[in-house]
């Protein structure tokens, strides 16, 4: 009998994770799609042949793995239902719940801060462990928004800080093995959306000076790019999402969609390997930092 994977929310990330799992493990899983939109359900069933359900209440969760890729407002409810239903494990896409409606902590929750799985992040982590870290700065630039987003994406739960900044804040905390950032200065502005489109801050994470700048309305960029600089006790290293100034040997993955990091993330999820994953406690720490930047004066 095939192992069951329940994908809740058939948007861009739900499709991506399902495809990666189908490619990495051909024929191993039976996918059940939970999607509230009737039109989307009909199209998915007819075009792709997946079994589709309107609500999580219609599927038997027992021992299934869940992939939750809904808007963050539904995360808390869905995780509770999954735990009650006896799920084997849950992967929840970021942003992880809402800053004012957090998802409870559970060891079987894996949060989708995928940048941790990039080879650049893994190499940086190793270097920091060996050489320490005096300074870490990160930058994210993209031309993601061309018009005002709709729904939750244009609310206090959206914005570049929640959607992309959360990735990079998680990466700072992960690389430095810390659980909070003291924010010393910050700038926030909105250009296209009604919330934050350009954000920067600097501060301290333990003894390390950290800074982050985010801009998702930068027309100079064709594709999203994150990059940065690491200063250790010994040297200065620049990097971006695919390279380190000191070089590294890339690893291979068995099925590639969107990046090695996405494949590795799903592989770790299926193998119940939490070694790199962000857990629910750490993901809620990311919320703490975002709240400090967004709401504290």
């Amino acid at each position: 009998m095939k192992e069951k994977i329940i994908v809740v929310g058939w948007g861009r990330m739900g499709i991506t994770h399902t495809s990666i799992l189908g490619g990495l493990y051909p024929g191993r899983f039976e996918f059940l799609i939970v999607e509230p939109d009737n039109r989307v359900r009909k199209i998915v069933k007819s075009t792709l042949g997946f079994a589709c359900y309107k609500s999580i209440d219609e599927v038997l969760i027992d021992r299934a793995r869940l992939i939750i890729t809904t808007p963050p407002s539904a995360h808390s409810y869905l995780v509770e239902k999954a735990i009650e239903g006896g799920a084997h494990s849950m992967f929840v896409e970021k942003p992880f719940g809402l800053h004012d409606n957090r998802v409870g902590n559970n060891v079987n929750v894996y949060v989708g801060y995928v940048l941790r799985f990039s080879e650049v992040a893994q190499n940086l982590k190793k270097i920091i462990t060996e050489e320490g870290c005096k300074e870490l700065s990160l930058d994210y630039s993209s031309n993601t928004l061309s018009k005002k987003p709709q729904g939750w994406r244009n609310s206090a739960y959206g914005g570049v800080l929640n959607e992309m900044g959360s990735h990079l804040i998680d990466m700072i905390l992960y690389l430095l093995g810390a659980d909070n950032i003291q924010v010393k200065s910050k700038e926030i502005s909105s250009v296209i959306s009604d919330v934050d489109d350009i954000v920067s801050f600097s501060g301290k994470c333990g003894t390390t000076n950290v800074s982050l700048s985010l801009n998702w309305v930068n027309k100079e960029y064709r594709k999203p790019i994150w990059s940065g600089k690491l200063v250790t006790e010994k040297r200065e290293i620049t990097f971006d999402q695919q390279s380190l100034s000191i070089g590294f040997k890339p690893i291979n993955v068995d099925y590639y969609v969107r990046g090695r990091d996405f494949s590795l993330q799903m592989k770790h999820f299926i193998e119940d390997n939490m070694s790199i994953f962000c857990n629910s406690i750490q993901a809620n720490k990311v919320h703490d930092t975002i709240s400090k930047i967004k709401f504290e004066k």
Binding site: W10, G11, R12, I15, T16, T18, S19, I20, L21, G22, G23, P26, F31, D37, R39, V40, K42, I43, K45, S46, T47, L48, G49, F50, T144, L145, S146, K147, K148, P149, Q150, G151, R153, E220, R222, K223, I225, S227, D240, Q241, Q242, S243, G247, P250, N252, V253, D254, Y255, Y256, V257, R258
Partner: protein
């Protein structure tokens, strides 16, 4: 082995060096810049060019003066994934459907009707392909499905059926069908039952360093040999210079690629001098 000019340099793509990509992109900011460079490259002896259907690429092909003899080939890839990704980011997954329906023509009515009746989105493929392909793209040109879309579809249930439908639709329009994938082994294994599409061009990464070659260089080489033996597919190697990696010289890359049984190679460069010297190396070896 035929040689094609790639398009990464035109659109700010360098998988190994993002700053270099940005610099090169600034040199090709208009359709005129790109068209002149392609024409100059073809005069140097390239067999054709590959270009994506993004805004600039579409305009380049739309205004390109193709010679009637078909000696210089156009390999056109669709769609421009970032356009659709942005649409989904901003307005959700149904925004794609709305975009397609807004752009339909009377000739699309039958297929759109089939879609409305069955909810099977595969019926919208002819409309999607038509929207991405300029009318003056010469018949006989290759239309590739971009790897982001191919690989996303191939990981899903019914993925191979959708790909087969794509191949059929492209061929019905008088073009040659092409597939770009970063997972050539997986693609062939999933499509195994159907080798009737003899005129299929399969494009994938292959280079000596293994840069973005999945799952590994040796496995892809073995796969090339398998495909040569068991299919009539045209095999197209891309990323042959490891996206300009400093780990390997151009000469070593070219030596390697000539040892592999490919029908086409595609490489991008923003410098005519480099294109000329690569052609010389490749042609000398051929002689």
């Amino acid at each position: 082995m035929k040689i094609l000019l790639g398009d990464n340099q035109f659109f700010g793509v360098n998988h190994a060096d993002l700053n270099k990509a940005k610099e090169t992109h600034q040199r090709f900011s208009t359709t005129d810049d790109i068209t002149k460079f392609i024409q100059a490259s073809l005069k140097l002896g390239l067999d054709g060019f590959m270009i994506n259907s993004n805004d600039l690429g579409f305009k380049v092909v739309k205004s390109f003066k193709f010679e009637g003899d078909g000696r210089k080939e156009c390999h056109y890839s669709i769609p421009y994934p970032h356009k659709y990704a942005a649409m989904v980011n901003e307005s959700g997954i149904l925004a794609l459907l709305s975009f397609i329906l807004k752009n339909m023509r009377i000739s699309d009515l039958l297929n759109v009707g089939r879609f409305v009746w069955s909810s099977n989105a595969a019926y919208l493929l002819p409309t999607i392909i038509r929207l991405e392909v300029p009318k003056n793209l010469p018949r006989g040109s290759v239309i590739y499905l971009q790897n982001v879309i191919t690989d996303l579809i191939m990981g899903l249930k019914n993925g191979p059926k959708i790909i087969e439908h794509y191949i059929d639709q492209v061929q019905k329009m008088g073009y040659r069908a092409g597939i770009i994938t970063l997972n050539p082994l997986h693609f062939r294994r999933q499509m195994e039952i159907n080798h009737r599409h003899k005129d299929l061009s399969l494009c994938f990464n292959i280079n000596k360093t293994g840069f973005n070659v999945f799952p590994s260089v040796q496995e892809v080489i073995d796969e090339i040999n398998y495909l040569k033996e068991h299919t009539d597919w045209q095999l197209v190697g891309m990323s042959i210079f490891s996206s300009g990696s400093s780990q390997i010289t151009i000469e070593e890359s070219l030596d390697f690629i000539q040892s592999v049984s490919l029908d086409y190679i595609v490489f991008g460069s923003g410098k005519l001098k480099n294109i000329e010297s690569n052609i010389k190396v490749l042609n000398n070896e051929k002689d």
